[in-house]
């Protein structure tokens, strides 16, 4: 083994050792395209009209406040039927489904979600007449949920 190869080998070994074990267990972002396909049934997604309020930086992924709003009159002719929240890096990406209707009067839902790491949260709104709106919001998560809870 020459000097150059030794240095390269030891450097890669050091790099692997420097990454803590829990960081290596990070869930990579999954391909959520099949899940979105299942929700929309192949219909086109419009990337406007759905506003998502999420903090840019979440210190703790165990509880991240989230608010979804659709500008909709919520009448029988034009209303939101459902809202879907997808977190591609969570072990189970489909976070929640909310079913609304004209009885809601206002297409707004707020909750608190768990996020396993920094990711782009995908939200989908299904309007009546098989129309879909989509929103992607990036959240930086300093301490991820689901991972460091082994006690």
């Amino acid at each position: 083994m020459n000097r150059r190869r030794f240095l390269a080998a030891s450097a890669s070994g050091l790099a692997a050792a420097a990454v803590p074990a829990h960081a290596q267990r990070f869930q990579p972002p999954q391909d959520v395209a099949p899940l979105i396909q299942q929700i929309t049934g192949g219909a086109a997604l419009t990337a406007s009209g759905l506003a998502v309020k999420l903090p840019q930086l979440a210190e703790n992924g165990n509880s991240v406040p989230m608010q979804l709003t659709v500008q909709s009159s919520m009448t029988a002719e034009d209303h939101v039927e459902a809202l879907y929240v997808i977190a591609p890096r969570n072990p189970r990406p489909l976070v929640a489904t909310f079913h609304l209707g004209p009885d809601a009067g206002r297409a707004e839902v707020a909750t608190r979600v768990r996020l396993a790491g920094t990711q782009k949260v995908v939200s989908i709104a299904r309007l009546n007449g098989n129309r879909f709106l989509v929103n992607e919001t990036e959240v930086l998560v300093t301490s991820a949920a689901c991972l460091d809870e082994s006690l």
Partner: protein
């Protein structure tokens, strides 16, 4: 019986949407955690929650493991008549819970 609370404004205007806030006391176990003996803690999630008002279901949700412990929800309902607003939920263990609030339409 599980604990939960639902809150509506003291008085609401007929025909206008009002805010409903719900909180359920529940650990929302994901099934990915282990206890001190290393045994996996089984999944236990409030997976279904529905709101009925004026004899109709006005809101329904299916929650997953991605919802924080003690699930908190805010949504809107159109005020039609004075009466109770009922919330019912159930978890993976089959336990059920209810909470209700009186809606006073001014």
């Amino acid at each position: 019986m599980m604990l939960g609370r639902v809150q509506v404004p003291q008085s609401v205007k007929r025909g206008e949407p009002f805010e409903v806030r719900v909180i359920v006391q529940h650990p929302m176990e994901t099934g990915f955690r282990r206890d001190l003996q290393g045994q996996a803690i089984p999944v236990n999630i409030v997976d279904k929650l529905a709101c009925t008002y004026g004899g109709r279901e006005v809101f329904r949700t299916e929650l997953g493991t991605g919802i924080a412990a003690n699930p908190y929800l805010v949504f809107y309902v159109v005020a039609r008549e004075s009466g109770p607003l009922e919330i019912a939920w159930s978890d993976d263990r089959g336990q059920q819970g209810r909470a209700s609030a009186m809606v006073n339409v001014a």
